[in-house]
Symmetry: C2
Subunit: 104 residues, 2 copies
């Protein structure tokens, strides 16, 4: 696979992982838009929400809880946003949820 | 419950539901920020992602797939965003995911 996020999952492309379990990896965005900007990424290659299927429900739900836990770990006070982009708004063709916090 | 989204779920507060199943209801935002702006809401009262628990993983995952299907139903071309707000960014204290499409 010539997918940058698959290479992060496999370790071929080293990054500081903030969290990792069997299904999910979390790392900082390399182009942060907010004081805290993490990417929460399923290890399995799902290209986009546009092609997600019923089999993906469990990991997509786990990602939401993981984002919550990362917000706690990073002590985001005030509030945060969790979002996924599809189509022209999606930059890397491996589904990833943005956790953004620390902004006004 | 004095929760506006619980009242929509129960029918006490009538809105045009775009979709409904046992777990989820979808309706248009009454303050749309984009050409398509839907809210995808679990019927069960979960106050916020901040208090979501492992038992909520399934419905939070289903919400992601529902947002995808609504994007197809509303023929959103180009791309879309699915997001949830927590803390100061959350306006109604019943978790809801925004599906936003049709913007540049």
């Amino acid at each position: 696979m010539d997918c940058v996020f698959c290479k992060i999952v496999s370790g071929e492309l080293p990054v500081n992982k903030e969290f990792e379990d069997d299904d999910i990896v979390v790392f900082k965005s390399n182009r942060p838009e907010t004081p805290v900007h993490l990417l929460v990424v399923p290890k399995r290659h799902i290209e986009s929400l546009k092609v997600a299927e019923d089999d993906d429900v469990q990991v997509l739900g786990k990602i939401q809880l993981m984002a919550k836990r990362m917000a706690e770990k990073f002590e985001i006070v005030g509030g945060y946003k969790v979002m996924v982009n599809a189509g022209k708004f999606q930059e890397v063709p491996h589904i990833h949820y943005h956790l953004k916090g620390g902004m006004n």
